[in-house]
Subunit: 712 residues, 2 copies
């Protein structure tokens, strides 16, 4: 094989696929003591029956555990797919360069002592990064546990998880934490749901979670990808990964810590400081249909449902129980997490009444009573009937104990599963191990607690809804809207405010409706401008100065001016007040703007996020943003369906609807403005730092942006 | 023993204690087939080693399982403590009357077929209730599983729970559901934490949860009382039970279903329709220091912590982990449920740095790294040091797997337990059964998941805080405030509005500050009144009519009147408008009231709740109540400490503090008004149906109630 540039590109492009499905593995520094960290990868590969070639590299041993050892990297044959490096930190860089020379595409580096160890370690890590990049080899880690492919038994890890059975399931799992990742693998195994692939990324000097996610989604053996994240350095690829997941209908389920980071706590009212990383992440995953789990158990619950249940076509839950109270507990939780528990239709109720005892309940929750033990058809038929109700999308069956009837009940559930046309799960409180295992064997998802079941169903219903939205969007023209690049306005420096008139022009170019305005530099010009911008209404005057960020703080604003005299006087007053408050500020003139009205104050903002690129923030003004921090973020650009969905996630969403006798605001106009602003953000992402439209006044007629602040 | 009235009272007073700790049990209708429902109580009593006298009543058998049978109730000896009636529904009433004749104080009725079976059953239930009351016997049930006392082995139930081991723990448990209650008993057993007492109340024709709670709290063997509730018919005793629990420091932990009932969902803005039963219940339990659990697992988690940990003296949590990410997950949840995770002090951090590896973290969360496996003192010492920090009240230690080190780690935790001066719990993800059991044996509470641990600690910290508040209150004079009875104002009919002038007088009598007002019946009188109520300000005019509930709807209000002419004209306009809008309405005059101002609109309401008696509702006006339904309920009367705590639970509480450059409102005045209004409610509870102060305007100076609506 010739070392042409084309080959090198190809080698790199396939690097991660070769890492995930290696036909040959070299272990650099393999110990002959198989219980050491440096011995365990070989032990596991042998124990678990890896069929590919193994090359333990050890200058002193001829063979290890019967596998022929290789004295050094140079002696490796060509075409090795993966190197596991079990040497200490100080030997890593040189080793990696040697591996690159042998065209090994990826090195897994276990060693700690890098970025996590302070300044010196950080320097060493940066050096490793550069060296690897230059040499053309990809790095997993350092400070990681490695990875495994449970299908082909490539157990390239020293994780204690591999001490036990490594059963392969159609789930990929990427963890930034080694210790917690291992525990999650073990939890998954305990559910008889092993991970097919596991990768621990450690310090992520090179290979990132997002990149791995893309590779895992491409693997035909995997149906679901999951991840445990502690933080993202590289979120630019999020939208692309999410798009790929949607196209393949392979859900991504993530647990990310830091839901309440200091960033999110910061109390402030403008876009910048509200954009705590986690809030942005949370908004983006919801926008893109990635499922976010609250913690490890929630994640595994969701994954189990995704694996074994059809996707529900809506959020309407049927609850079938043997205890009225348990039904209400389930309904409580359903409502809390966004599922509906609609009353069953009259026909359904009558049909259920035919099969359950008189003291049961046919509504929703359905209470079949404990009689079903004597007569299992009660449970079978009432569940099938409830699921068949046209208003129902998904079901949950709740029962407890019944240890003496496990076999009979396993048959009942198997029959329900075979006949049901809609997804359902079982909650079995105080179940026997036999009952749990028996249901799992039959492909039926079972929980020991109602909340866990409802939480998982809610997340899955949310995913299904996001995918329906994506499918609708996929065929809409807006989705494909090709947003061109927009240059920085002439004369504007990076990091400086954009003059209002130029900012307004940019908004206009994207069809975002602002209050009409003119910049003037004399009182008489202000009077004339007022006649033009508001022929029959009143105007506001606002100081225009590159040096003034908060206009009201320096007395730079006058509102509700409805006569020539008032405008003239306001011009003079503002000039004087600003001069007094901030004598050094350059005054570029005064903006004359038509006064506007609306029922609801709204705020939109753009911000260039270092991790996720250009994002848009939306929220209601006043206490909603200031006290309740009620904002939602999306990545730019946003489709109309994504915008509508994001608006629905605002706590104050009800204020957009008809309220206290006043008509609903024009939501279509608001959605279109969000879409347009997000396209503006995308078009300007090379230079735009921040843009605030605060407030935007919404009415039933439409909307108008009253104030704009834009920073290049 | 003579049947004097005094004896009868005594017999009834002791009835429930005799039921809970019976020295003799009769089984009416005992079957000789011990596997039947009617045979199981005898089987369980024998199997579990009940030492008291057992009297199976069966006319056909001489003995059952070696116990001499009694042919009929009349043949029972005197002084039997408890009768378990296992006969069908139609025989119950007659049986109960016979038992009463033999002075048996309590009958446990298993039979279903009563109130749960529709109209006929309800009639039979009412009849049973009357007959029992008349005969002087208490009833548990009907339609219940009975009860057990695991200490003296009085297993008066047919619950399948008793098929297994019935280990006695210092926890009482009362369940309204038989099926779910049994499952919860089994869950408790699986935690090696058996319930000492279990009672299933079934249809509650007589003995109620609150009454049982009182009796259980009095039992020296019990430290904690728990309950599973589906609904309360009799909540009047709630305050008394809570007071008793506080005095004894025996926490009550309840799971009550219906957190999101239709009542709570009803969208409306006035007190009446917001007082959905569950919101009232939720407010009251928080006011009174009863712990409310979200579901059965949460309840058992809380009970376990209460049993084995000292009460934390605050809400500051130290997190010690072997995984940075896990620490953040725990911190996330802590913040979500109201615990703090403060940074550890400088001295503490330095001391921890001495014992953990350099790549660990000394902040909070503390990350001791996986090194502690090799050197257990790392975990021991860092946990002890963190707990010793003066800012820390309680700790959680998180670890995972470590199956090979279970014995060593059990020693480590035992040492921590012996040395720690503050409470802590362990989270062990993917723990072995041996690890879990070993920790429990050592009296250390262990969870398999971080959220569950944090949720339980938060509830326990909340309880401890409520008890500190109660202790402070207990010695305050306000607590003892003896509120006299207040008669219904003369001339006011039950169910009718109270004229505003009389309502205002009542408020004044309780020192509740309202805007000054006079009732007038002519325009000139209005002008004169305006001069008196607002000598230098403006006034509002409001129609006064028993037939008009919503004054603005009929044009019955005019605001901001600042001249004689304006007042005169407004009087005429209002009279005309109301006459036109509601010609049949009796016009009692027009109220002239001083206009008031304030920064924040607040709402207070009183409502006579059928279950809980007089309750007070508080909340912020505007979107807070209308969109966010952000209100809190308390039972009347309310102490100042309870009022302050309730205000803190409002989502919009921040608006009461200094906000956007404006000073905080006068919270002391608001608290005093809440206390006073609650005393008014208590004083008027014989006749007052509803009272709304909406709005009350709050400022830094004080407050003023602007509008009052009172219904007798």
């Amino acid at each position: 094989m010739q070392d042409t540039p084309a080959n090198q590109v190809d080698q790199q492009a396939n690097a991660l696929q070769r890492m995930l499905q290696p036909n040959s593995i070299a272990i650099v520094g393999a110990s002959s003591d198989l219980n050491k960290v440096s011995g365990r990868p070989l032990k596991y590969l042998l124990e678990k029956g890896y069929k590919g070639a193994i090359y333990p590299i050890n200058p002193k041993a001829k063979d290890i555990a019967g596998v022929a050892a290789v004295p050094d990297i140079a002696s490796l044959p060509d075409g090795v797919d993966l190197a596991v490096v079990v040497l200490p930190a100080e030997q890593i860089e040189a080793t990696v360069i040697e591996l690159a020379k042998k065209k090994v595409p990826v090195a897994v580096v276990f060693a700690s002592g890098f970025g996590e160890m302070g300044a010196e370690g950080k320097t060493m890590e940066a050096s490793l990064q550069q060296a690897a990049q230059k040499a053309g080899i990809r790095i997993l880690g350092p400070n990681c546990l490695g990875l495994f492919n449970a299908f082909n038994r490539a157990i390239a890890t020293f994780s204690q998880y591999a001490d036990g059975e490594v059963n392969a399931g159609p789930v990929g799992f990427i963890s930034q934490s080694g210790a917690f990742g291992t525990a999650i693998c073990a939890l998954s195994r305990a559910r008889q749901m092993g991970f097919g692939f596991f990768v621990n990324t450690g310090n992520e000097v090179d290979i990132s979670v997002m990149e791995l996610m893309q590779e895992m989604l491409a693997l035909p053996a995997l149906k679901v990808c999951s991840g445990y994240l502690e933080g993202l350095n590289n979120g630019h690829a999020l939208a692309a990964v999410a798009e790929q997941a949607m196209q393949l209908d392979k859900p991504i389920v993530l647990t990310k810590v830091g839901r309440f980071g200091a960033g999110a706590r910061a109390a402030a009212s403008h876009t910048g400081s509200l954009a705590g990383e986690d809030r942005v992440f949370d908004g983006l995953v919801q926008q893109k249909g990635i499922v976010r789990a609250r913690n490890e158990e929630h994640m595994l619950d969701i994954v189990e449902v995704l694996l074994h249940c059809e996707r529900p076509t809506g959020k309407n839950l049927a609850i079938i129980t043997q205890s009225g109270g348990a039904g209400v507990l389930l309904a409580d939780r359903a409502e809390e997490v966004g599922l509906n528990v609609p009353a069953l239709g009259e026909t359904t109720r009558k049909a259920i009444a035919q099969v359950i005892p008189g003291f049961g309940a046919t509504g929703n929750p359905v209470d079949v009573t404990a009689q079903f033990v004597a007569q299992p058809s009660i449970l079978t038929e009432s569940t099938i009937i409830a699921l068949n109700d046209s208003d129902i999308d998904v079901g949950v069956v709740w029962l407890q104990l019944m240890h003496g009837f496990t076999d009979k009940l396993l048959e009942v559930f198997a029959e329900i599963k075979s006949r049901a046309k809609k997804p359902f799960v079982v909650v079995w409180v105080s179940a026997s191990e036999k009952a749990i295992a028996g249901l799992r064997e039959r492909g039926i998802v079972v929980f020991r607690n109602g909340d866990a079941a409802v939480d998982a169903l809610a997340a899955v219903a949310q995913y299904a809804q996001a995918r329906r939205r994506w499918q609708a969007d996929f065929h809409s023209s807006q989705k494909q809207a090709n947003v061109g690049r927009q240059q920085r306005p002439t004369g504007v420096e990076q990091g400086k405010p954009v003059p209002t008139v130029q900012a307004l022009a940019l908004l206009k170019a994207f069809n975002i409706h602002s209050a009409q305005a003119e910049l003037v530099t004399s009182a008489e010009a202000a009077v004339e401008a007022a006649k033009r911008v508001a022929p029959s209404g009143s105007v506001a005057l606002k100081i225009e100065s590159m040096d003034v960020l908060h206009k009201t703080d320096v007395g730079g604003v006058a509102l509700n001016l409805s006569s020539d005299d008032a405008v003239r006087q306001a011009f003079l007053d503002i000039t004087q007040r600003v001069t007094k408050a901030k004598p050094e500020a350059r005054q570029d003139g005064i903006l004359v703007q038509a006064m506007s009205s609306g029922r609801v104050e709204f705020i939109l903002g753009l911000k260039h996020d270092p991790v996720f690129g250009m994002v848009i923030m939306m929220g209601l003004g006043g206490v909603w943003i200031e006290v309740l921090k009620d904002v939602v973020f999306c990545q730019c650009p946003v489709t109309p369906a994504e915008a509508a969905d994001a608006l629905g996630r605002l706590k104050g969403a009800a204020l957009l609807e008809a309220f206290r006798g006043q008509p609903a605001v024009n939501k279509e106009a608001l959605i279109q403005t969000i879409v347009s602003l997000s396209q503006l953000g995308k078009a300007c992402e090379d230079w735009l730092s921040e843009l605030d439209l605060n407030p935007i006044l919404l009415s039933d007629k439409g909307l108008v942006a009253v104030d704009v602040a834009m920073v290049a």
